[in-house]
């Protein structure tokens, strides 16, 4: 996947969708950061909220949002299967297709950092939750991440 092109695609989706709805999301309040693969997660900067995307071999694993006071969800929970009821780490471990091979609870976090591509979309918190929800929903619709929603709902 060409991630430069992909970042532009994300930018277009956000701007075009919000413009179509008559409330364009101002480009200056939006930042798309390609953390790459391997990647190093970064905390949510103060005054920001974010949407995160995890990909493995061009398959979208998880796309989610986190508000300005939900840094743990954005920064660390998805790398630790025991940090919340539903995390990327827990989903990969319980995935019967065994995408990550021989991994365990103790090394799944490192496996995700080494093998998954992460992209963060940061948005100024004062743009509001509805803008973040719009971005998340548009990306769910477009990329259908495999660990969002129950299988029966997809």
């Amino acid at each position: 996947m060409d991630f430069n092109a992909f970042s532009k695609e994300l930018n277009n989706i956000i701007l075009e969708t919000s413009t179509t709805l008559g409330k364009p999301i101002n480009g200056s309040s939006l930042e798309i950061i390609d953390r790459g693969k391997p990647h190093k997660p970064e905390p949510l900067p103060a005054g920001k909220m974010g949407v995160y995307l995890f990909l493995y071999d061009d398959v979208f694993l998880k796309i989610g949002k986190a508000g300005p006071k939900s840094n743990a969800r954005f920064y660390s929970q998805h790398y630790n299967p025991k940090s919340a009821r539903s995390t990327l780490a827990a989903s990969i471990l319980s995935d019967k297709s065994n995408i990550a091979g021989t991994i365990t609870e103790s090394n799944i976090g490192d496996w995700i950092k080494e093998n998954c591509h992460r992209i963060d979309i940061l948005l100024d918190a004062d743009v509001g939750i509805f803008a973040l929800e719009l971005i998340e929903a548009a990306l769910h619709y477009k990329y259908e991440p495999i660990y969002e929603g129950f299988v029966t709902q997809r």
Partner: protein, 506 residues
């Protein structure tokens, strides 16, 4: 449960109809009312659930008036309204009885209360809390819930010390959950009031909604002693703290029920409170000249780094040798706390690869470390090892880079900074000359400005070239010159446009 707004729309609409003196009773008893109740998930149970709690208030408007301000369960009230309507639609001798004053009054009271309960309220909580009701739902997409998994909890506590917990299991995954455990008991009034007061105090501050995907949600309703209802909601990952007290933990411990989801799904993240790092290098040095019988002299060098939430400080101490100790302490209110908050207490320094058995030891030098971490919840953790890539935790580099960046941000101060002590003060009639450098160029150019706030290192926007196109340049130095001493005549020196902003870089 459907959105509050749908319930509110329903309550407001039908409240108006029941107030309408001209309305035909058919409009009130026709099936439309039932259709909407079904859509909102209200249950027609002949008023049984409601009358169990409120007795004859399920049909008597005078009795309802006595208890109406204490009713806070939207679903229960909605179902009571549906059931009462069903009486006139189905059982009453004449459906027109619904228009009798006492019956209208009952519906108006109930629907007004439903409207109030379902009203979106973004205000801060005001008053003295009389009761709280927390609905926590932890359904998320990770593991698909089992039939018996408890997925929703309704907890109510009032200032009389009454506690009620109703839990619901996932069931077969259809629309309705199955009823799970139901507990009612009393705690000391003093304890319930402590809980209510802290919850009230937290939500009397500005509340920024905590939201994240795929983690469940909570809805909180606080009723004050004037019967006013306040609503708050968030995702089930909220570590709500006031005066150092975590609200979820407080409620769990005070009512003595551990497995409550509350605001954090019982996953409230642990915190790192203190990190103590001791680094120790011992180097044997062979002196050029013999020093008696000793073949080596030993240089014993150590460093300690202490990051402490309680004192909001970072202290770095270097023990360089006998009589040579360098220490530096940063006390940054809020900053050190934020730095520690950004560390993941669950996984910090969890994995160390370790050196292979065939690693070659340097007999003349050893580098070792000891790290002690104090957590909020977990027991203290101590790790030791050799200070090298494989002997240190896998996430050491990230941690070290993060802490270094934090420390360097504050720099070494101004006392010894040449740009401070070499700065001359501007005199009347002097011009401000900026020496600037263009990107990828070492050559500097003079520009003048009126902005005396510009300092070396700042970026400014300038007209460049013969066409005066705009360019961003870095200020290398700031100097003041009178007209006669100026390196270039002020009239022949270009003036900067302004200091650069973030927008200019975008």
């Amino acid at each position: 449960m459907p959105e509050r707004k749908s319930i509110n729309d329903f309550a407001v609409k039908w409240g108006k109809k029941f107030r309408d003196e001209e309305i035909n009773y058919i409009e009130l008893v026709d099936h439309y009312f039932a259709d909407e109740c079904d859509e909102l998930g209200f249950v027609m149970d002949s008023g049984e659930a409601f009358s169990q709690q409120y007795g004859s208030a399920s049909y008597d408007s005078r009795e309802l008036k006595k208890v109406i301000n204490g009713i806070s369960d939207i679903e229960l009230l909605g179902s009571a309204i549906y059931s009462r309507w069903r009486y006139f639609n189905h059982w009453a001798y004449d459906g027109e009885e619904i228009l009798e004053d006492c019956n209208r009054a009952w519906f108006i009271l109930a629907l007004d209360r439903l409207a109030l309960l379902s009203e979106e309220n973004t205000l801060r909580f005001v008053g003295k809390p009389q009761s709280i009701r927390i609905i926590s739902n932890n359904i998320s997409y990770g593991p698909y819930p089992d039939f018996t998994d408890e997925v929703e909890q309704h907890l109510e506590i009032n200032d009389e010390g009454q506690v009620s917990l109703k839990a619901f299991d996932f069931g077969d995954g259809s629309k309705d959950f199955t009823k799970g455990r139901s507990i009612e008991f009393n705690i000391e009034k003093q304890i319930s009031q402590k809980i209510l007061n802290l919850v009230g105090a937290y939500f009397s501050q500005e509340y920024t909604e905590i939201f994240a995907t795929d983690i469940g949600y909570w809805n909180l309703e606080i009723i004050n002693t004037d019967g006013e209802v306040y609503f708050f909601s968030g995702s089930l990952c909220a570590d709500l703290e006031i005066d150092g007290v975590n609200l979820s933990n407080l409620i769990r411990s005070e009512i003595n029920i551990e497995n409550l989801y509350l605001f954090d799904n019982n996953y409230n993240t642990d915190k790192v409170n203190k990190i103590f790092i001791d680094y120790h290098r011992v180097t044997k040095i062979r002196p050029q000249e013999s020093i008696g019988e000793k073949e080596y002299v030993t240089w014993d060098y150590s460093e300690q780094l202490v990051i402490d939430r309680k004192t909001e400080s970072i202290e770095h101490i270097q023990n360089i040798g006998s009589g040579c100790i360098i220490s530096r302490k940063l006390k940054v209110q809020g900053g050190v706390e934020a730095l520690l908050d950004d560390l993941d207490a669950e996984s910090l320094f969890e994995n160390i690869e370790g050196n292979p058995p065939n690693v070659i030891e340097n007999l003349n030098e050893t580098r070792k470390y000891k790290i002690i971490i104090d957590f909020e919840k977990k027991e203290q953790k101590t790790i030791t090892g050799t200070y090298d890539k494989k002997g240190l935790p896998n996430d050491w580099a990230d941690f070290a880079e993060y802490v270094l960046e934090f420390i360097l941000f504050y720099g070494l101060g101004e006392i010894l900074d040449p740009s401070t002590y070499n700065k001359t003060r501007r005199c009347e009639g002097e011009y401000i000359y900026l020496s600037v450098a263009f990107e990828d160029s070492y050559k500097t150019y003079f520009y003048i400005t009126d902005d005396d706030s510009i300092e070396a290192g700042d970026f400014v926007l300038v007209p460049a070239g013969k066409d005066n196109h705009q360019a961003i340049v870095k200020v290398i130095s700031v100097e003041y010159f009178s007209e006669e001493d100026a390196p270039l005549s002020p009239s022949k020196t270009k003036k900067i446009i302004r200091k650069s902003t973030e927008e200019d870089f975008k």
